[in-house]
Amino acid sequence: MIRTIIIDDEPLAAGIVQEFLAEFSQFQVLEVCQDGFQGLKAIQQHKPDLIFLDVQMPKITGFEMLELLDEPPAVIFTTAFDQYALKAFDAKAMDYLLKPFSQARFKQAIDRFLESRMEGKESERPNADLHHFAEKSNRLVVRVKNDIKIISVQDVNFFEAEDDYVTIHTAGGKFLKKMTMKTLEESLDAGKFARVHRSYIINLNGITGIEPYERDTYLVKLKGGEKLPVSKTGYARLRQVLGL
């Protein structure tokens, strides 16, 4: 049995996936979810083999939901938005169905999934690091225990790298998110954030002062009272952005 979950906010759209999927006896639909929150819970609970995922949904998008999963299942995106196709393939989606889609096209997607399953291609699995190539984003979605929190980027004081994770420091607390500094840096507005150190990206609005530290290095003081190290290249970058 191949265990699947369908996540789509439109009941009819979820219905047609169910209808088409009924042709394949080896598939079993465990749950149909109407938004990313439900979807996340269902995926953690059932650990499905495959999910059908809409992109534009209440509260958080399908992509944002995927970012929150440590071990995402195989994904077939179902959406009306063409502009997401590139991002979906970047997310190593199994396939990308543009609504409305035909039964033949649906079968193609299923065949592709079955093929890769036979070959056991792990690399076809979606990558949690969806921000690669990602367009500029003004918000971050994080998981706090079993809850989901949406953080507006402008509320972030600074980001701190910790192995595979990034700690997001805001006035309202610290949050952990699985992503790399490089992709995070690319998704942020370069006029508002600057990477001052291998491990730190700071919100330029929060800077209260810069002081020399050791030879060629500096410390940047933030509104919250933190003092963060600034590397030599980071200092050059900071000077450029701030126009010093």
């Binding site: 509260k59 009306a80 984003s137 003004n138 953080i151």
Partner: protein, 346 residues
Amino acid sequence: MLFNAFSNPRLGKWIIPGTGLVWFLGCFLLLKQYEVGTEIALTDSFLSGLIFLGGVFVLDRVFGLFAPKGKNLWLLFAVPFFLSLMGTLVHSYGLTWWYAYEDDYLDFLSASFYLRWAILALAEQLVALLALVVSKLERQEETQKREAQMLQLSKDAELAQLRQQLQPHFLFNSLNSINALVVSQPQKAREMVLQLSEFLRGTIRKDSQSWITLEEELNYLKMYLDIERVRFGHRLGVEFLVEKELNSIKLPQLLIQPLVENAIKHGLYGMTGDVKIEVSGKKEGNYFILEVKNPFDPESTAPEGTGFGLSSVERRLFLLFGRTDLLESGPDEGYFRVRLKIPQFQ
């Protein structure tokens, strides 16, 4: 052409015959002063008037259509010069032949030849300049008119484009819903095809500039909402609070629908669970005020690129009324409120 020099076209017709008449009268009075006989003076001034008229006519044609520039500038002086010389010669020889036995007059005629030529040359020179100036102004006016027309055309095009920017997202999702309904509920699928067609027809209406009544716009809106309700089912509720008397109020087409679409987008995509949208309309002085309210979670930052609906309405209002203060929006006690003001003209 000189006849365009007056803004009143009926006066313009008389400009050339009028100058001829003035010329004729001037000549006649002058000749009488020099004690020329009445009959001869009349003939002389009549011929003189005709020749001047001919000159004006030719110069008007020439410099009305052709504006000498640079190397050709000498023509502006040469043409009146030779034209007046020819005119004076014709006048002189003609009258010499006609009054061959009036010695006194012939003496007077030949003595006044250079004076006549000088006066005619001066007058025709002025006419030539005038014709040139008038035609320049005319051309300028034409360019201005064309520019204004082009501006209007591009404005119309932009308006049409903004109006027709139906969300492909909406269209494809609706088609997907139909796709789903076809097998399970064919009757409902058919209903939705018809609704969608009506909706699309509305967005490509030909007489796009004309205003429609509020009733029509609301009917159109209800059609749109019917489609959305098929897609989102019970999650979407919409309440209309518009007084019946206002049904005949006129407003530009398709201004309200994008606002409701925006409310649905933020309401349905910003919240989980059921969403109720409120549309209310009232009249305040010379304005029709329409408000759209949707529940809104101030905690959640909207995903990027969702402001298109409002900015397109704002742009249209500016193109229609030349004002930027007709659309206000903002959060209001757990709701997101959009307020649209439409000026009402009597």
